[in-house]
Structure formats: C-alpha cells, structure tokens
C-alpha cells in the first residue's frame, strides 16, 4: 500500500506549533518521505489559533488534501476547530486534561465559528464541550487517544529527579511530535538527531528535549496500537532538500547575483529579506567573500526608491513586498519603467483589499501588478507556481530585467511563503546570468543612455563608469536623458519603450512563458501557486482514466496571446483556477484572446486550495453539474 497521510498540529500562536511541525517535517523528510506542509495563522503574536498541516507520501506531492489522519491537540481550540477534518480510521491525540472544557470557556473562539459549532453539536445531540465534540468524532469512527501531557512531564520529572520539568509546558510540542511518531510506528532516531541539530548550540536544552521525546515516544508505543494509516517504509531520494517558501527566491537571489535588497517589513514577504540578511556574507568561487546588503527602510516607497538607486550603479537590486506595500510602490515603478531601470520586485501576495486578511493567502494582485502606476510603460509580470520553481525563476527574472531593461514583478504568494516542502536540491549550475547590454567600458562617445537602436534597447552605463555620464528623469526625455516636451521626441521615446513588449514575447523562450502539463478537451488555465493543487487533482483524475489538461501561464504581462491561443486551439472547455474573487486570469484571457473561460474554480477565504476540493469541482464540471463559478471553502 502506498503512503499518503496528513498530520495536523495546532495550538495557540507562540506555543511551538511551528517548531513542532518543523521537527516532524524534518524527521519524515529524513526518513525519505516526500513532505508538503503548510502553516495557517492569525494576524497576532501570541494566543490566537495557528495550525500546521503536514502531508507525507512516498511519491512527489504538490498540495494539501482535506483529510487529516492524525491530529495532535494540546489546547481546546484545536480540538473544536479541526475535529471534523479527521477521517474515519484516523486518530486524535489530545491532552486529556482538556476534556471538561466547554465552548464558552475558550475565549479565542469567535462568535461566527461558535454559532456554527453549537449548531453542529446540537444536531448531533452532544454537549457543548470537548467531551461532546470528541464523542461526535468517535461516532464517526475516529480513534481517540487521550494523554495527559502534564502527567508525562511530572512522571518524567520524578524519573529523572528534575522537578523543573514538571511545569515546562513549552515541551508540549515535542511531546506531541514524539507521541505521533510512536503511534505512526516511525523510528525515533531521526527525531533525536533532529533535536540535536536544532539545539546544537544549547546542548543542555537538547538533552532535556531528548529525554522528553524518548519518554513520550516510548509511552505511545507501549500504550497504543499503530493507526490504520501508518506509513510504509520508503527509500530515500538522493539530493532532496526540505525547504521553506521564502527560501526559493532568497537563495535564488544569492545565486543570481542580487547584491542589494532594501525592504519594509510586511507579512508574508519579510521572511525572504530576513533570510537574506541572516546569510548576508556569501562564499564566492575563487574570490573574496561577497555580500548582500539588506536595508530595512522607513516604508515601501523608500524600499523601491533605494532599489532603483542601487540598480543605477549596475548592482542587481531587488525588493520584496506584499500587496499593500506594492500599492505604495506604484509611482516609483513608473519611474523605473520610464528610465528603463532593470530591477526585480518580489511580490508575495496575500488577501486584499486594503489590509484584508493580512496573514492569509490570495492571488489578488495579478491585474494590479500589470496596471499599477500612471501612464504607459513597459514591465514584466512573471509568476512562479512552487518553491522549487521560484528558485530558478528568480534568476530568470533578473535576466529579463537586465536584457529588456524593465522592472520585473515576480509574483508569489502566501501559500508558497508558508509552505515547507521536500524537493530536489536546487542546482545553481542550471542558473545563467545575462546582464544584457550593461557596459563595462564606454566605446562610443558621446554616450547617450537612451540612444535609438534597432531593437529599442540602448547600451546601459552605470553610475561611476568613466565617460558614461547620463541623465535620468521622470519627465519625457531625449536620448541623453534630458527633459524634452518635443512631440516628435515623445513619439520616438514612447515607441522605443513600448516596443519592448513585442521583443519580450519574441525573446523569452516559449517554455518559460507557458508550461503545458498536457492539453485535453477539458483544460485548466491557471497561474502561480494554484498549480500544486491542480496537478495533484489531475493526477487523482488520471487514476480514474479521466484526462484533464492544464496550462500554467507564467509570463502574465506582456500576455503570450498567440502561444496560449495555439495551445488551446482544440480545447472544448476552459476552466480557470485561481485564488481570488473575480477570476483575474479569466479577465486577462478575455482581454487578450477575446473569449470567455467556461468555468471558474475560485477560492477567496484566505486559505489555500487543497487538491481534494479542486478535484471535487473538476468532477462536478465534467459531470456538467457545476456552477459557472465554483467557490471553494475548505480550511479553518
């Protein structure tokens, strides 16, 4: 039997949910399972509910599913919010001290959820308490595994003669992970190794954690049977890494030579900048160390201004932000377009509008990033669909910026940002660096920054280059960069800049513009992180001998109209899948191809799509029982 199971851990923010999940992911990846984990959290520092779903399998996976097989709850809210996700035959490890807690005692349950929960318990004739909700799960065939977490600590405190242990509730996450591994019948050694590596600088802390882990692990194996879904053995793929969402673009930036990143803190984008700064000194082959200068600015307006200033010195420069920050950057983006400044804005989208759902997912900014800024100027909008892809795409975005001398907006999102996955080790040898027409020496004098050329792109000088003096201005300008309001200069310069679109479509390789996963009568078009759930859903359909096509559009502006048209020429039904309300890719599709998509599968709850729900909607569409707009709702 193949292995495919989802483990869910949750609790109050700040209680170690994330570190618990990271240990679990690391252990499973270390054994050889493929991992797809995703974190959900409130806009809050401490106390609100957060959870982490980790799916492990013996084959490559690209998404989460609806079903949970083993859940760990060390607080009551986790039980109330997630019990319904655990499938028949699955199990819930929970702190038995919680049993008598009632709904009203959990202050972090909002009234909307509470009223739905009470309605549900009423319909099942259960009391409004942990006991009640757990009974309802048991009735459905879920195994309950009550364990007193405090008792484990006090017993261990006695055994080891270390009374301090008794009150260490921050050990709950390690207890939860260890119990889980015991119940799943997985080896404990990788757990102990991973604790050692996490606390390598604090051997005493590591020792206590290992004692707790061992004790809880042995407790579980002695007391409970393995659950039905326990994973089978697996052989480990060589060259596998366990990587977090922001690391793809961050490591991509290091490799492709981005050396300057001003940024302003914003969820879910800041992790990338913080990671770059944590690794600011870089090893360089056969050279002295290099460095990425990361600057925390006073706002996003400053971040983009500084980035442009850096780019003018010939430095590969970038910033990283999310929707609200990008909104502030619109004016300067136009300046970069006007002055043909190569730069990359990494935009980890989240749910808007305004502050929206600040820590939740959304693919809301497609049309905005294409249209942001007043006036008409060239830019590229490019979207990655997964972490591994984002590493390679980062290098490509910098090349596009340099070759076409335009600002590039690299779209990612919160789903990618808060995922932890296994994938093939990034291969820097597959990255190329092409600086386009950037000059090291001025041959032709006098130098004209915006000289008319046959392809519309001028040789580029940089601040500090001898004989390469130039002027830039946000005003319309002549070839030197001096202000000109002459109507014919205006035509020349507008034509020069906007001819870039055609060139971009001509020169970017087709396979970098659109990725086809096969075309069929029923064909999905999508972009960005919806890719993962889509390919897993298509895989599920394949097992039923149902073939659904999928093209992932990566180059979204300028839109590869002719190529998309040729790919879809024989398609009968077009299904647009994306995480927003209006189906922004569908709008773009209509604008460029002149026709409507047939169905939308959309999600705008702020929670990422699961492959289960995409699969369910596709089935409905194929059975002609679907609404034109299929709206997905899964996820707490």
């Amino acid at each position: 039997m193949s292995t495919d199971l989802t483990w869910l851990i949750g609790g109050p923010q700040g209680s170690g949910v994330e570190s618990g999940a990271n240990i679990f992911s690391k252990v499973c990846a270390g054994i050889g399972y493929q991992v797809f984990g995703k974190r959900e959290f409130y806009s809050n520092i401490k106390g609100e509910h957060s959870y982490f779903a980790v799916r492990i399998a013996d084959k490559k996976i690209h998404s989460n599913v609806n079903d949970v097989h083993l859940m760990v709850a060390f607080d009551a809210e986790m039980v109330f919010r997630h019990v319904d996700e655990v499938v028949k035959g699955g199990a819930i490890i929970y702190d038995s001290d919680l049993e008598n807690i009632t709904i009203d005692e959990v202050h972090t349950l909002d009234i909307y959820f509470k009223s739905r929960l009470e309605k549900y318990l009423e319909s099942k004739n259960k009391e409004f308490s942990i006991k009640g909700i757990l009974e309802s799960a048991k009735d459905r065939g879920v195994t309950l595994l009550p364990i007193s977490f405090r008792e484990i600590l006090s017993k261990l405190a006695e055994d080891t003669n270390n009374p301090k242990l008794k009150g260490m509730i921050r050990m709950f996450n390690v207890i939860g992970v260890s119990l889980s591994l015991g119940i799943l019948g997985l080896d404990s050694k990788p757990l102990l190794d991973s604790i050692d590596s996490i606390f390598s600088k604090k051997p005493k802390v590591a020792e206590i954690n290992k004692q707790v882990a061992n004790y809880a692990y042995n407790y579980a194996t002695a007391k409970f049977d393995k659950i039905n879904f326990s994973p089978n053995s697996v052989s480990k793929e060589p060259n596998t890494i366990l990587v977090q969402g922001h690391q793809g673009t961050a490591i991509g930036k290091m490799v492709c030579g981005c050396r300057f990143q001003p940024y302003y803190p914003i969820t879910p984008a800041s992790d990338e900048s913080v990671y770059l700064e944590s690794n600011e000194i870089l090893n360089v082959k056969e050279d002295r160390p290099g460095s990425t200068v990361v600057v925390q600015t006073e706002d996003e307006i400053s971040a983009i201004g500084m980035m442009i200033g850096g780019a003018l010195t010939g430095t590969r420069s970038s910033t990283c932000t999310s929707g609200p920050g990008f909104s502030l950057m619109a004016e300067s983006l136009g300046w970069a377009g006007m002055n043909e400044v190569p730069c990359v804005i990494t935009n980890y989208q989240r749910s808007g509008p305004s502050t929206g759902l600040p820590t939740r997912h959304g693919q809301d900014d497609l049309l905005f990033t294409i249209n942001a800024g007043h006036g008409e100027f060239p830019r590229i909008v490019y979207a990655s669909g997964a972490i591994e892809e984002s590493f390679y795409d980062t290098g490509k975005c910098f090349n596009f910026a340099d070759i076409f001398q335009v600002p590039v907006i690299h779209l990612l999102d919160k789903f990618i940002a808060s995922s932890v996955i296994t994938c093939k080790r990034f291969d820097p040898n597959l990255v190329t660096i092409d600086r386009g027409k950037l000059l090291d020496k001025i041959e032709k004098k006098p130098y004209k920054r915006f000289e008319q050329t046959s392809d519309g792109i001028s040789p580029r000088s940089k601040l500090g280059l001898e004989d390469g003096i130039f002027w830039n201005t946000g005003d319309e300008s002549d070839e030197y960069g001096h202000i000109s309001e002459d109507p014919f200069v205006r035509i020349q310069m507008m034509d020069k800049r906007l001819s870039r679109f055609e060139l971009i479509l001509k020169q970017i390789p087709k396979e970098d513009q659109v990725v086809s996963f096969g075309v069929a009568d029923n064909c999905i078009i999508s972009w960005g992180s919806a890719k993962g759930p889509i390919i897993d859903a298509i895989d599920m359909l394949k097992k039923e001998n149902i073939n659904v096509g999928f093209i992932q559009i990566k180059l979204l502006h300028p839109f590869p109209t002719e190529y998309v048209k040729s790919l879809l020429k024989d398609v009968k039904t077009i299904i647009d899948v994306e995480a927003n309300h209006t189906g922004q890719l569908g709008t773009l599709f209509k604008q460029n191809l002149g026709k409507n998509v047939d169905y939308f599968i959309l999600k705008y709850t702020g929670r990422s799509m699961t492959s289960t729900e995409v699969y369910d909607s596709l089935k409905k569409i194929l059975a002609k029982k679907a609404n034109k707009r299929e709206i997905l709702t899964h996820g707490a």
């Binding site: 990846a29 480990k236 596998t240 890494i241 366990l242 990587v243 690391q247 490591i251 290091m254 490799v255 492709c256 030579g257 050396r259 300057f260 600011e280 870089l282 090893n283 360089v284 082959k285 056969e286 050279d287 002295r288 160390p289 290099g290 460095s291 200068v293 600015t297 006073e298 706002d299 307006i301 400053s302 201004g305 500084m306 980035m307 442009i308 200033g309 850096g310 010195t313 430095t315 420069s317 300067s332 300046w335 296994t422 990034f426 820097p428 040898n429 990255v431 660096i433 940089k462 601040l463 500090g464 280059l465 390469g468 003096i469 002027w471 830039n472 201005t473 946000g474 001096h482 202000i483």
Partner: protein
C-alpha cells in the same frame, strides 16, 4: 588634470525665472565639484520635483531627476550600492519637508555619507506659489488666497533632531560662502544637510532678496544696510562635537537647536552642528560585512562566463535531508 568650473556645466537651457535664487545654488555646486577636483563620473546629483528638480540637468555629472519627495530614497540606494560615488541630493522645501518628510527623518537616522541640499523658498513655485512647509503661520505670499494656516517646519531643528551629523545653512546670493559650505558638507564623514535660503522672485514676495538684505530695517541716517543674514563662524560659534561624551553632544545639539530658532531681524548661516563621532552607515555595515567598502555591491563580480560564481553549497547542505 585639474577640472574647471565649465567642465561641470551642461548645454541644457535653464528655464528658471530671471533672478531666481536657484542659479546661485547650481553655481555653488559646480564650483565646489571643480574646486574639489572630483572626476565627473564619480559624482551624481539626485534631484526631486519642482524647479529645484531640474538642477541635475544643469550639472555635468550623472544626473538623476527622481520623484516628488523621494529624492533621498534614490540617492541613498545609490550611495549604499556604490560608496565610492560623491552623491548630492537636491530638492525643494516642499519636496523634502512636506511630502518627503518621512524620508528626511529616516535618512538622518542612517547617516549615509552624502549631502542633501534643500532649496528653501517658502513656496511651491512650479505649481504657482502655494505655501510650502517652511512658510510661517499667518504669512500670505502673493498667490495665496488667504494667509497660511500651518505652523512652519524648522529644517535645521528637524535635521538635528533626526540625526544628521552635519547641519548648515547657506544663502543663495552668497555663492562663495555657499560653495565653501558645500565643500565642507561633501568632506564630512556622514550625512550632511544644507538648508539654503533661496528667494523665489515670482511667488514669495515676503522673503525677498531685499528683505534678506535688510533694506526695510536699514538705518537711513547711518547710511548703511543691515543684512539679516550673518555668519555663525564670525561670532565664534563652535558647531563641532569634539569628544564622545553625552554632555558635549547634548550641549552642541541644544546650541544648534536654539540657533535654528533665530529668525526675523537676524538670520544665522554657516555650520550649526557637526559630529563625526557618530559612525556613518558604511561603518555600521562594515561591522557586519567587513569587506563592504572594498567589495561593495556595485563592485562585486557575480558571474564568470554567464555562470554564477556565488557558492551556496553550505546553505543547501543545511537544507539537505
């Protein structure tokens, strides 16, 4: 080869109003660059929006005419990425103290080695004379429908409070003095701020050249003029923080702040405050990145034959399972 003043002039037609104070500032910048013999390609003038924004087009160095209020952001980015450049940012009082005030304060905190010159004339000239942040409460310049309803910003005081480590004021009709101030500002190790009083002959009919010259307060019987402008250095004023002690720093800050409030019949120019004890931004970066100056972002070689030379194998090793 010694550079001449003419080397720093461009052929671009200057469309400022006749008698505009901006001419003096551009001349002073050009004179300073020539006197310091800074190679043209080693200097960049960044400018904001408005009449003063055109400054970068009139000077024959790299010239980056940016956006309203954002000049400091562009300039700081360039200065960090290529610390070998002499960077001068120039903009109006509305640009720097109105729309760009947040950047002004943040720049002070960073103390990047560069110079910021504000062309201070009390009005938004290019949009036909609205009140700028430095116009005083209750004053009514020519094109205002009614007297100004806002209190004025004190540029010197704000700079001192924000952490600028060189704070000075010049007068655009005293070009030689202004040139000397610009040279001192460029030589200063850290962020320099120059508030330049610059009459707008078209829209500011209060703070005119004659007003600064004190013709209205001249003692006619003594047959002499009483210029409102005087130089701090002529009064024995010592702006320099000499040693790293709280009392010394506080005294010099307080003295600068008090002097900045002087206005009306006597207006001080010259250096208000100078502190080279505070580490410039580059020094703070060196604490983290020891070879930052020798191998700055703009200097780094990132590829060889189109292939990356950065070696991230240790990072990837740490992620490997």
């Amino acid at each position: 080869m010694a550079l001449k003043l003419s080397d720093f002039k461009t052929q671009v037609h200057n469309d400022w109003c006749p008698g505009c104070g901006d001419f003096g500032i551009v001349n002073a910048i050009q004179m300073a660059l020539a006197e310091m013999n800074i190679p043209r390609h080693k200097a960049a003038i960044f400018s904001g929006i408005g009449c003063s924004g055109k400054t970068s087009h009139f000077i024959n160095t790299f010239g980056i005419h940016t956006l309203h209020g954002r000049v400091l952001t562009f300039a700081q980015g360039a200065a960090i990425a290529n610390p070998e450049m002499t960077i001068i940012a120039a903009g109006g009082d509305g640009d720097g103290l109105g729309i760009g005030a947040g950047h002004f304060v943040a720049a002070g905190r960073r103390n990047i080695n560069m110079t910021y010159i504000i062309f201070n004339n009390g009005v938004y000239g290019l949009t036909k004379g609205q009140a700028s942040p430095t116009l005083r409460l209750g004053e009514k310049t020519k094109s205002l429908p009614s007297p100004n309803t806002n209190y004025n910003v004190n540029p010197i005081g704000l700079a001192v409070a924000s952490g600028f480590t060189f704070v000075a004021r010049g007068y655009s009709y005293d070009v030689r003095h202004l040139k000397d101030l610009i040279i001192s500002a460029i030589k200063h190790k850290g962020l320099s701020f120059l508030d330049v009083l610059q009459p707008c002959p078209t829209y500011n009919d209060i703070n005119t050249r004659d007003w600064y010259a004190g013709t209205d307060i001249a003692d006619s019987s003594a047959m002499e003029t009483h210029s409102r402008i005087y130089k701090l250095e002529d009064t024995g004023y010592d702006p320099v923080v000499h040693y790293e002690e709280e009392a010394e720093i506080n005294e010099k800050l307080a003295q600068a702040l008090i002097k900045s409030l002087e206005w009306g019949s006597k207006i001080p120019t010259g250096i208000f405050y100078k502190n080279e004890i505070i580490t410039p931004y580059a020094g703070r970066l060196i604490d983290k990145i020891p070879n930052y100056l020798e191998n700055s972002p703009a200097n780094q070689k990132v590829s060889s034959n189109g292939k990356p030379t950065t070696d991230v194998s240790n990072i990837l090793d740490s992620l490997q399972v």
